[in-house]
């Protein structure tokens, strides 16, 4: 088996729950996974180790108690989502693991997939037990093609050892998991587009309602969760929802993985309790800003509204605090931006991404991202007009809230916040002046 990438030394502030096996080569095999405490949670849930099996409702209750919220971006309470699945019914139910990690600034699910594939399998299986499903799917980002091999090796081992398939370890519970890759589309991270893609169709979002809990994959009740969310499930079942909740804050249970990138010394993925101060993340864990002083921080992946340095340094990283401050904790992708970075260029780079990734289905996103990219390119080049600054805001406002899926909002929110908070930098580009950061901004790439 290929050597796993080494995992850099952890920071003392970290609470290693989902990342407990990162860098541990034993987790690559089922035997090693079992040696490191793997499958004890499933054993508990199914009553494999002599104990009583947990009722499906009890599993959901434990997850509700943990206050685990979705780690993909929207932060929806996981236990509540599971409880939406109708009981009974003659349609099959599905668990979908969303491994289409594509949000710029986010690279945490990849580490779980690489370092601890069995934890994901175990989490999906427990979720399947909880909602009464017999089949799960892992939809892996197209660019993570090599991860498919890792997952498939792990799945094969789990099947061989009776941890998947018919009558798992004699429990009477049967469950199958299939791994599948996308073809390289950000849009397929959106849950309904992902289902379309998994069904073999164009990856475009569906009309909602109906929501996946009622009509998801193949028109059947479906739970769809992020990789990290599902990998958090076994520790919750094993050690209890209260234990998990108490790591974080009320309604913000547990630790989560933060992907720290940008102009910061120690870029990497860190598992920190929810509510961890952003200042400490940058200064202590991250080792400080690289190449200048702090100008701005993107708190939760490229689609979340940006914070100025001042706003950022007083902020705690939990869903509610970041929400109150006007942005989102999102996928936990923290991007640090120093004062030598041109914010117009940053906005342009972000817009290039969304223009490229817009699925094109609905008008405001398709045409709006194209318009903004073209206009920002012209503007940054030095051909801007004073009215352009308001135009950027206006066009983004016309995308916001008017698209079929959240991708439109994801494209509009960063540009709106950047223009509002760094308007003077836009004005500095006017009247034929060259970009004030032209000499420096190429020194350290941002995104």
């Amino acid at each position: 088996m290929a050597e796993r990438p080494a995992y850099p030394a952890a920071h003392p502030a970290e609470v290693r729950v989902v990342s407990q096996r990162f860098g541990d080569p034993r987790a690559a095999t089922l035997a090693g996974y079992l040696d490191t405490g793997g499958y004890q949670a499933l054993g508990k849930a199914l009553g494999l180790n002599g104990g009583e099996a947990m009722a499906p409702e009890a599993i959901i209750e434990e997850v509700k108690k943990s206050s685990l919220r979705g780690r993909g971006g929207a932060g929806f309470p996981t236990g509540l989502k599971w409880s939406f699945i109708p009981k009974g019914g003659d349609k099959p139910k599905y668990v979908l693991c969303n491994a289409d990690e594509s949000e710029p600034g986010t690279c945490k699910d990849r580490l779980i997939l690489e370092h601890d594939p069995f934890a994901i399998i175990e989490g999906i299986t427990i979720a399947g037990r909880a909602i009464g499903a017999q089949r799960g799917f892992i939809y892996i980002r197209g660019e993570y093609r090599y991860v498919l091999d890792i997952m498939q090796r792990a799945l094969a081992e789990a099947y061989a050892a009776g941890y998947l398939g018919a009558n798992i370890r004699g429990s009477g519970f049967s469950f199958d998991i299939l791994a599948h890759t996308g073809a390289g589309a950000y849009e397929c991270g959106e849950e309904s587009a992902l289902m379309e893609s998994l069904e073999g169709k164009r990856g475009i979002p569906r009309l909602k309602p109906p929501f996946p809990a009622i009509s998801g994959l193949y028109g059947c009740p479906t739970v769809i969760n992020n990789v990290e969310t599902l990998a958090s499930v076994p520790p919750i079942i094993l050690r209890g929802g209260d234990w998990f909740l108490n790591i974080g804050l009320p309604k913000n249970g547990g630790p989560r993985l933060f992907s720290l990138s940008g102009q910061v010394q120690n870029r990497g993925v860190y598992e920190l309790p929810l509510g961890f101060p952003l200042r400490r993340l940058i200064e202590e864990v991250g080792g400080g800003v690289l190449g200048g002083s702090l100008k701005a921080v993107v708190p939760g992946g490229s689609s979340t509204p940006i914070f100025t340095a001042e706003e950022a340094l007083g902020l705690n990283l939990d869903y509610d605090s970041v929400g109150k401050a006007g942005s989102f904790l999102g996928s936990g992708g923290v991007v640090v931006i120093n004062d030598r970075t041109c914010m117009v260029r940053f906005a342009l780079r972000v817009m290039q991404f969304y223009r490229h990734e817009s699925c094109g289905w609905c008008v405001p996103c398709r045409e709006g991202t194209n318009w903004l990219q073209l206009a920002l390119t012209r503007f940054h080049r030095g051909d801007g007009r004073p009215e352009d600054v308001d135009l950027f805001t206006d066009v983004a406002q016309n995308i916001l809230g008017r698209t079929l899926c959240p991708l439109g909002d994801a494209a509009a929110m960063p540009i709106l916040s950047i223009v509002r908070k760094f308007r003077s930098e836009f004005e500095d580009h006017l009247h034929g002046r060259p970009c004030p950061f032209a000499a420096e901004s190429s020194a350290v790439p941002v995104a």
């Binding site: 817009s358 699925c359 008008v363 405001p364 045409e367 709006g368 194209n370 318009w371 079929l404």
Partner: protein
């Protein structure tokens, strides 16, 4: 049993849904059935909600974002095309926020839409123009370069201009969901998204042009029409398609008398949204260079020479008078593409003026056998036959039995309606056919006959106790209402034990079946079909499929040797007396010769004169040219057909598109149309018939379709249809009265053309567009 006082029993299951929900739009309280889309409810109340991607009866897209409205208690604007009305919902469609959203949607759409309206075919009839005018901004803020991509040709008749495309996906849906062809798809993503053929660089399709018709802008244009004119330079004349027997309305675009296009502009004919390749593109036969412009008379050298109308008509009547004086035999063959009025006057000329019952037309369905089979026993009071269905009835049918025929190829409107019923009304379609026809994809059950004919199978269904069932494979179980895409019935028929008996048993579970049958059933097979239909529960109705635009009208108007108009027997003295009184002259009593017998009489040199109007009988029944010398042949047509080439006199006629009158489709729906195009040198068949009658001393009156139709309404069984309905552009079902039709003696005279989508008997040869399409589809 003692009576126990009790509350009314609760209804089984969930409480019944309320009949209506009430909601408020812009302060007006509206009501609609539960499940109604907000956009439909508003439009029904005359509240305009603009949209591009929304199209009634196609799947929902929510893509154009033009129909955003405010719904109270929901923070974001909502798409009215996907919002279902709910009790107590409060909606605002005319607020500053909604106006701003519409303006912005138009602005976004226009960012990459070229403003080439002055040369765009859709200019003047473009929904984007109209919407920009009504809802758009006065200022363009988009200053960046627009994306350009070169135009593509996907078929002889379909061009695609990506820059103009606003990606509403109507074309993709109408092709897939409506036509069940699935030739179009969406490619690439984001700003590079594009509509594209699912088969490399060209369309593998029925060339129906529905994608062009449904395109709200000029992205899809017609290869037969593009760049020829501006829409406002044309008159738009509602006509009935001159090709198959379904009777679709096609709106002719006419400039200076020239028909430049057919399309489905106002969608208010019996065909609704639908039009096929012939109705849309076939009109160009009217411009064919070989169109006859002058009467021709064969001169002493044997050549056909152009002559004046007066000379030609006198030549004819002089000869006819001579033959009459010598008590010679006349034969008359009428057309399946002339108007009802012309067919009526033609048989009147034959019977009353030429004194012959040798009258016929090219038959392709056994209508007399159907009406005879449906008749009540003799002596019962004559009632209109209630068992005939119109084409629209198929759309709401619960169950349909299709025996023989291939509607997809031969009756595209009936096929469209059958698919509609399957897709939107959950109808069960049962197919009985020797061929694996395309409608199998919508069939709940198909009996694919492996041995024997449809007639054998129908006889078995009617009387299963007699003999072994014809062998059939049952296949294609497609549950009604299954909207999954794509529908994938088994690629090869799977034999199912039970064969036709199982087919019969399943049909017996259906109520109110409409039976549609093709030319495979004639004579006693039609009788057997009706016996079987009568055994089914509920009210069984029938449609017989005949080939041409007025095949049914020709039959109804009495172009038969043994039947007078309205299927009254020639042999019946009372019937003869009725028409003799109406026409002011005697009618010969003996039934005449049918078309084949007339041609055989030519070969025996027993027929002295043959008058062929809009027909090409020598294509079906060739004659020996030498024998023709003793028969004076007059042919009246648009082109020099095989029959016309043998004629002594050829008279140039106008086409159905160039005359006013009524036609009757294969279901019996009478429709009225006005003259669209004109063509110098030719006359309508009615003008010619009237002129010949006048020269022979009979006054048929002014050649005016309305006047003749009044006579038909008064005289012809079943034709007392509502004039109001006709004038409103609707079809009015002509229903012959009970007991009218005697059985036909010659079922072998039912000789269908088996046209494909791209052929149309003799007429189709003269459409350049149909030929181009045919050529594309015959390439290996």
């Amino acid at each position: 049993m003692p009576e126990t006082p009790s509350k009314p029993a609760p209804a089984a299951g969930a409480p019944a849904a309320p009949a209506e929900v009430h909601f408020t739009v812009n302060g007006h309280t509206l009501a609609a059935a539960p499940g109604t889309l907000l956009i439909e409810a508003c439009r029904a109340a005359n509240i305009e909600i603009p949209s591009f991607c929304y199209y009634p009866k196609l799947s929902l897209q929510a893509a154009c974002r033009m129909c955003l409205v405010e719904v109270e208690k929901i923070p974001k604007l909502q798409t009215a095309c996907t919002t279902v009305v709910a009790e107590g919902m409060v909606v605002h469609t005319e607020t500053p926020t909604v106006h701003a959203a519409r303006k912005s949607a138009i602005e976004f759409i226009l960012t990459n839409h070229p403003l080439d309206c002055p040369v765009c075919d859709a200019g003047g009839e473009c929904e984007l123009q109209d919407m920009t005018f009504r809802y758009g901004a006065a200022v363009s803020r988009f200053d960046e370069p627009k994306r350009h991509r070169d135009e593509q040709q996907w078929s002889p008749v379909v061009y695609y201009d990506r820059p103009r495309c606003i990606l509403c996906y109507r074309c993709v849906r109408v092709c897939g969901e409506g036509m069940d062809v699935w030739a179009l798809g969406v490619g690439n993503r984001g700003i590079l998204s594009t509509i594209l053929p699912n088969h490399q660089d060209h369309l593998e399709c029925e060339e129906c042009g529905m994608c062009i018709d449904i395109c709200p802008v000029g992205a899809l244009t017609s290869g037969a029409y593009r760049y020829q004119t501006r829409p406002w330079e044309m008159q738009h004349v509602g006509a009935i398609c001159a090709f198959c027997g379904d009777g679709c309305k096609t709106t002719l675009g006419v400039r200076n008398g020239v028909i430049l296009r057919g399309d489905n502009r106002d969608k208010n004919g019996i065909n609704g949204d639908f039009l096929c390749v012939k109705g849309r593109y076939g009109t160009d036969f009217t411009r064919h260079p070989e169109r006859l412009k002058s009467p021709l008379v064969r001169d002493a050298s044997g050549e056909l020479r152009p002559v004046s109308w007066a000379y030609a008509l006198e030549t004819i009547t002089d000869r006819w008078r001579g033959i009459q004086a010598a008590h010679g035999q006349f034969g008359v063959i009428g057309s399946t593409r002339c108007s009802n009025e012309e067919s009526y006057q033609l048989q009147k000329l034959a019977r009353r003026v030429l004194g012959t019952n040798h009258v016929d037309h090219h038959r392709s369905a056994d209508f007399p056998a159907l009406f005879d089979a449906l008749a009540q026993p003799a002596g019962a009071a004559a009632q209109p036959l209630p068992q005939l269905a119109d084409s629209g009835a198929l759309k709401t049918a619960k169950a349909v039995l299709l025996v023989g025929g291939d509607p997809t190829q031969e009756h595209p409107l009936l096929a469209w309606n059958l698919r509609w019923a399957h897709r939107l009304a959950g109808a069960s379609l049962y197919v009985l056919n020797r061929r694996d026809i395309r409608l199998r994809r919508q069939a709940r059950r198909m009996a694919l006959l492996t041995h024997g004919t449809e007639a054998d199978a129908v006889r078995y269904l009617a009387a299963p106790q007699r003999g072994d069932p014809p062998q059939a494979e049952l296949t294609a179980v497609s549950p009604p209402g299954d909207k999954r895409w794509p529908q994938t019935p088994p690629s090869t028929p799977q034999p199912i034990p039970g064969g036709l008996e199982e087919f019969r048993a399943e049909l017996a579970q259906e109520r109110d079946v409409i039976i549609v049958f093709g030319p495979e059933l004639t004579g006693d097979a039609v009788q057997a079909l009706v016996r079987f239909g009568a055994s089914l529960p509920g009210h069984t109705r029938y449609i017989a499929m005949a080939d041409n635009a007025n095949s049914r009208g020709a039959a109804d108007m009495g172009l038969y040797p043994d039947l007078l108009p309205g299927y009254l027997p020639v042999a019946d003295g009372a019937a003869r007396a009725h028409f003799a009184a109406a026409w002011g002259g005697d009618i010969p009593a003996a039934p005449g010769w049918n078309q084949r017998q007339m041609v055989e009489a030519v070969d025996r040199r027993e027929l002295d004169a043959l008058y062929v109007v809009g027909a090409n009988p020598f294509r079906l029944d060739p004659v020996n040219a030498a024998n023709l010398k003793s028969c004076f042949l007059v042919v009246q047509d648009l082109f020099l057909t095989e029959t016309a080439q043998a004629a002594d006199v050829v008279l140039p006629a106008l086409s159905l598109y160039e005359k006013s009158g009524t036609v009757t489709n294969t279901c019996g729906e009478v429709q009225s149309q006005r003259r669209g195009g004109s063509f110098e040198g030719a006359k309508t068949d009615m003008e010619i018939i009237h002129a010949l009658a006048r020269l022979l001393g009979a006054d048929f009156g002014r050649p005016d379709a309305d006047r003749v139709f009044s006579e038909i309404r008064a005289q012809v069984n079943g034709y007392d249809v509502s004039l109001v309905q006709l004038m409103a552009g609707r079809g009015a079902l002509a229903v012959p009265r009970d007991g009218a039709a005697p059985r036909q003696a010659a079922p072998q005279m039912i000789r269908p053309n088996h046209d494909s989508l791209f052929t149309a008997g003799t007429l189709g040869r003269y459409s350049a567009t149909l030929n181009a399409v045919l050529e594309k589809h015959s390439r290996p």
